[in-house]
Symmetry: C2
Subunit: 345 residues, 2 copies
């Protein structure tokens, strides 16, 4: 722990669902943590709970990354060792309705951050990307060497564009040391039940949790005629605590990595879980039936998305260990204790 | 001409090589023209000459599109009917060395412009894209329905990203009326010899012109072992005056176009011209030998790039009419009268 204690990590989006779990892991590993979050779709309450859980303080700034001057102010106050850039608009459906906002917020944030980092001689960056950059899978499991692009929605394109920008910048300027983490489907919550998902539910398990506490109407499952064992869509759900630990592993690897291209890692389990698997597991966690209806497929939805996480397993010495029942148990634990999220905190 | 006389066109990059020719055509067709240009790689001298040629005034603002507030000021002063967004960093080689600048300038400019247009209820946009969005050709000639992406350099990616952003915005908001013009290789100059290329030469014909007046050392031809008639690279060179007239045709089409997707047109001749063809034609124009050496291919260069311009021919009633000798004659006319560009103007 001592080797980390003087290093400061700047976590953008650190008050969000994934961000709060990452910040907790960072604090527990002995890092100093600075958070920038505009608290859209999140709140500082999550960070207060992280401080409570860790017994440590977070330097939190409610700042919008679209505002470059505000980022500069934060960099003046802290000597940053590495930035973990998690802040993002992240709703696939919403990105179809508000594409301009998605492009502006996600691209301006990334580029302002890159510029201020460079001005401050900070070149260690861990970037939160997504399985969406693979587009519609042609082969499974998805491995990092596959071609990216052909994204099926504007949100995915904002991630793909950012990856491309980072690749080109690394190529041109050897000082950059960038790791790209491609998240699969983050679910679950910290075992304490104090921190968990905030904002809109972006996958079926998070939606089920809200249905179970009455915050969403009946669950709809989009299609049961896919070419999968039970006909419903199969995804690679990963426990948010496992995901958070992947970031710690990536930081440890930073010093070793001095390539001209970003190091790219899938963060997934490599195991597929169907929509009906989730309903069954969540019913077990919550001890009640979850009513659902099968409706038509959504445009662009594919049968199965599964990661090949072996590169991260091998190179980062990291492995997602939590299984689907653990994901549902911890999520239900959080959701039942916080039926309205952090607002009643 | 009368139907245009009350319409104001805002031309970004209007002081540049292509921009000045477009502005001249607009003025001659009776439009009011407002120009925003930061004069990086161009100068207001070109616009003074356009005013002289047309006998009309241009409302010119030396403003950077990265500065949103400055764009807002311009929109306060003029009732804009349509924006032609030509401003761009545009050097393929340079984009490898300064990718951050390319992404920042090109993306921020486009998005700031979109945002200010929307705030002012201006939704007619003609966007200058490039043949580079097709990436390495799999089939020839290049037709608008081919898949884009797979660009071979950061400059091309900035154009591809902007096209994607515009497509998504049109999909989400039916008020947008966007035309994307994919330029092939613009060359030549206005027949008056008063306006012509400014800034760095971005293709071999523009380079040859500078060699001929002694502003560049000996011409290098990159590879003579391509699978082409004479072994040198074949491109679709288009006379800048033809290209400019394509913008006028696109404006005329705006009122008819009310699709949810941008109208996309190749602006090219459909005819391939080799590097050696250009040397021979330019020697004829200039009346002197142009020494050159054959050197190795550049990474990523392909044998042949030719447009299929038939969609623009058919739908816009536009056709590139000027041939290679005309391109070289007009370019030499400009270059010999302005050996140092506009600086001696």
């Amino acid at each position: 722990m001592s080797k980390n204690c003087r290093k400061t990590i700047l976590a953008t989006g650190g008050a969000g669902y994934i961000g709060s779990h990452v910040v907790l892991e960072l604090l527990q590993a002995g890092f100093d943590v600075v958070v920038i979050d505009n608290c859209s779709g999140s709140s500082m309450e999550g960070l207060k709970r992280v401080e409570k859980l860790s017994g440590k303080k977070v330097h939190a700034y409610q700042v919008d990354l679209v505002n470059k001057a505000a980022i500069q102010e934060v960099f003046k106050k802290h000597e940053v060792y590495c930035v973990i850039h998690m802040a993002s608009l992240k709703g696939v459906g919403e990105s179809w309705k508000r594409p301009f906002d998605y492009y502006k917020v996600n691209l301006f944030s990334c580029m302002n951050l890159i510029e201020v980092m460079s001005e401050n001689n900070v070149f260690n960056l861990i970037f939160s990307s997504s399985a969406t950059v693979y587009g519609t899978p042609k082969v499974l499991p998805l491995v990092e060497t596959l071609e990216t692009g052909g994204c099926t929605n504007p949100y995915g394109r904002t991630k793909f564009f950012q990856e491309q920008i980072l690749k080109d910048i690394c190529q041109a300027d050897k000082r950059w040391n960038v790791t790209i983490l491609r998240y699969f489907n983050p679910v679950g919550a910290h075992e304490s039940g104090l921190i968990g998902p905030v904002g809109n539910p972006y996958n079926i398990m998070l939606y089920v949790a809200l249905v179970t506490v009455g915050r969403r109407d009946q669950l709809q499952i989009f299609g049961n005629d896919f070419d999968t064992p039970d006909g419903t869509g199969v995804r690679d759900y990963i426990h948010v605590v496992d995901l958070a630990k992947g970031h710690l592993a990536a930081i440890s690897k930073l010093e070793e990595h001095r390539e001209t291209q970003p190091n790219i890692y899938n963060l997934g389990t490599g195991t597929g879980i169907s929509a009906l698997d989730i309903v069954a597991a969540f019913e077990k966690s919550a001890g009640k039936k979850i009513p659902y209806e099968i409706v038509g497929r959504r445009e662009g939805d594919v049968a199965t998305i599964i990661s090949d996480p072996s590169k991260a397993n091998r190179e980062l010495g990291w492995k997602a260990e939590r299984r689907v029942q653990d994901m549902c148990d911890t999520l239900w634990n959080f959701q039942s204790k916080n039926p309205h999220g952090y607002t009643e905190g």
